[in-house]
């Protein structure tokens, strides 16, 4: 996983409530038993004129000039709700997104972001709406900065917006840690726990 410390990039304004994982990557676009090959299916239902087609719908913001290089997603309430499919995050990452800013996240989607090096940032809806307006005024040329060191988002107008992030998640993102490697450092503790638990709850161990 690539480390994420600070990113200044174009932001995609998509401030709509309940953008579910099937909108981010429709199930029909998950075509192979793989974590890759998903970027063309990102937002497919909104992005293309036809189901399964690849003709861009000009109204969709990602198809508009300036936004195709977006690496930050400005979303609405409850982003990533619905199916737990990690393909939503893999598709965003493969397209080039490295951060999602939203007023609230579905918890599984949030965790999937952290585990794949996408910085999840929670900011109030008014702040995100204001950021989206500035980005739209600049037609995609205005950039937003996400800084995990300072725990601050800076808008095109130069104003800073502090946010909080669980320290464990921040450390994992900044260092690009693989969570499995980190946990395997504690293998002795896990083995010890299980040895004791076998006496306490033997029916657990099939």
């Amino acid at each position: 996983m690539d480390p994420f410390v600070r990113l200044t990039a174009v932001a995609l304004p998509l401030v709509r409530a309940n953008i579910d994982t099937d909108i981010i990557i429709p199930s029909r676009e998950m075509k192979s038993v793989s974590k890759t090959g998903l970027k063309d299916g990102l937002f497919a239902g909104w992005r293309y004129t036809e189901i399964g087609g690849r003709e861009p719908r000009p109204e969709f913001v990602l198809n508009q000039p300036g936004y195709c290089d977006a690496a930050i997603l400005l979303g609405g309430e409850n982003i990533g709700c619905g199916s737990s499919r990690e393909h939503a995050v893999w598709a965003l990452h493969e397209y080039g997104f490295r951060s999602v800013i939203a007023p609230s996240f579905n918890p599984i989607f949030y965790n999937n972001c952290v585990r794949n090096g996408l910085a999840p940032v929670v900011l109030p809806l008014e702040v995100i709406t204001a950021l989206a307006e500035q980005v739209e005024a600049g037609s995609g040329t205005a950039q937003v900065t996400v800084d995990l060191d300072a725990l601050e988002v800076t808008g095109p107008d130069g104003r800073g917006h502090p946010f909080s992030l669980a320290e464990e998640d921040r450390v994992a993102l900044i260092n690009g840690y693989d969570a499995i490697d980190l946990t395997l450092l504690h293998r002795d503790a896990i083995d010890g726990f299980i040895a004791q638990d076998r006496d306490l709850r033997p029916w657990v161990y099939l």
Partner: protein, 474 residues
């Protein structure tokens, strides 16, 4: 001494107990390392997780505590095999099967009489037990909390983590109790209770919380109804839901294939009896509902919280920020504020899914369908949740009732609960469905889904429009 004694007696919630019983250690970063007792996989993501694990040079630490089923994209037509209507779907089935077998994981495969939707199969096989931690790369894993387990949905990378380490790194969720007074009245079901909770408290009402459902109305619920209720904690935005196990739970589990037996069973039950919230246990939030206020519900919009009574009307447009969401739902669903939902013409009816596909669901729907016919022009489908449910239903003759009424009678699986590129309902088709999600295009491109209990689905299929099952019996 006094302090210690007081601390020892501090009232604990069921969630406090489950968390403490699985806490391996608290990590320096503030997260906790939590032991995972069961991992479930399915063909949609299981093959990817297992392949990725192998590619990283890791393996499954304890395959005996891992189970895999074919449910998400397997076809549900009679005579089905590995071929699916989902383009490319066969590769998911074949590769998941191969990877799972190579790891020594139990597979509930196509053709196995135990195969079915994981959240139906796990309780019926006695794999989920009270007090266990259970994870699966599926958002409706919370269903299994009905058995007194801490069960939640994860992503594929987290599944790899649990498979390789038998643990997960977690930030402790907050706790909520939803206390339900009284008793559900005749005609009202656990599905209606879930939709009432969603209508009142919203689809983010439970966000970040482990929700304990408790109170007299919950104690009165049968096990399968509890599974339905906990299932929709996903739509409530909760981390998961849990119900304290009781004598009903133990009686339901006893003798199931993977449940403990003999002296080990006795010992387990005495341990499980301690799995409850103490009087005075603290919760970060509490919601109280009166079950007597719950009536048959249906969703009118494209979010599960957009629900009203089946005899109610599409709500008027709210003021403020919610207006835009409301308008979008009205346009998508082609309904108007103030319009009665009852009487909206439907093109299809679906009974199935991890929410409502168990034997009690099929019995209640069959009671309505018995001696009646589905309205002309309505396509009606019933998909039992598992091979065991299907066999039981056939032994009771329910399949003949469904078929005589004009329903299709399918093989077990998730089926048309969601659209995976294969089978779907038509564009703008209005569907009444016993499933859990009514998102835009969930059951097919531009399909309009109304979610409700199996009773409402059955009554609507007969009427050819959204209908109140209570009126059929008057």
């Amino acid at each position: 001494m006094t302090t210690l004694a007081t601390a020892a007696k501090a009232p604990s919630s069921l969630f406090d107990r489950l968390w403490a019983q699985h806490l391996i250690q608290s990590n320096a970063g503030g997260g906790d390392l939590i032991a995972i007792d069961r991992v479930f996989l399915h063909e949609r993501t299981g093959g990817i997780a297992l392949k990725s694990l192998r590619a990283a040079g890791r393996g499954v630490a304890e395959p005996r505590r891992v189970f895999c089923t074919m449910d998400h994209i397997v076809d549900t037509f009679p005579g089905r095999g590995d071929e699916t209507r989902m383009p490319g779907g066969t590769a998911f089935i074949v590769q998941t099967r191969e990877a799972a077998r190579a790891e020594g994981i139990t597979v509930f495969d196509i053709g196995d009489p135990r195969q079915g939707i994981i959240h139906v199969v796990s309780p019926e096989q006695g794999i989920v037990l009270p007090g266990l931690t259970v994870v699966c790369p599926d958002s409706h894993t919370c269903t299994q909390g009905a058995m007194g387990a801490l069960a939640w949905g994860i992503g594929s990378t987290e599944a790899e983590h649990a498979l390789a380490t038998r643990a997960l790194r977690l930030t402790r969720p907050r706790s909520m109790r939803v206390w339900v007074e009284g008793a559900l009245e005749d005609g009202a079901t656990a599905k209606d209770l879930a939709l009432t909770l969603l209508a009142r408290h919203g689809s983010r009402g439970g966000q970040g919380h482990v929700v304990e459902f408790a109170g007299p109305a919950i104690e009165r619920l049968e096990i399968e109804a509890r599974l339905t209720l906990c299932n929709m904690a996903a739509e409530f935005g909760a981390f998961t839901a849990v119900i304290a196990p009781d004598e009903k739970t133990f009686a339901w589990l006893e003798g199931r294939p993977f449940a403990p037996r003999g002296a080990r069973w006795e010992r387990a039950v005495s341990f499980w009896r301690t799995l409850r919230s103490d009087d005075g246990a603290a919760f970060d939030r509490e919601i109280v509902l009166d079950a007597a206020e719950v009536a048959p519900m249906i969703t009118w919009g494209s979010s599960p919280q957009q629900a009203c009574g089946i005899d109610g009307c599409v709500p008027e447009r709210p003021v403020g920020a919610a207006a835009e969401i409301h308008d979008r739902a009205l346009a998508y669903m082609d309904v108007r504020p103030g319009e009665p939902v009852e009487g909206l013409a439907i093109g299809a009816a679906f009974i199935g899914s991890c929410t409502n596909s168990r034997i009690s669901d099929l019995r209640r729907a069959a009671a309505i369908l018995d001696g009646r016919r589905v309205a002309d022009g309505v396509r009606a489908i019933c998909v039992p949740g598992s091979g065991q449910v299907k066999a039981q239903a056939e032994a009771e003759g329910l399949d003949r009732i469904f078929l005589a009424a004009g329903f299709e009678w399918r093989e077990p699986g998730c089926s048309m609960c969601f659209f995976a590129g294969g089978e779907s309902f038509g564009p703008r088709e209005r569907v009444v469905s016993s499933t859990n999600r009514n998102f835009e295009s969930r059951q097919g491109p531009e399909t309009r889904t109304h979610i409700a209990s199996p009773e409402v689905v059955a009554a609507s299929a007969i009427a050819g429009c959204l209908a109140d099952p209570r009126k059929l019996f008057r």
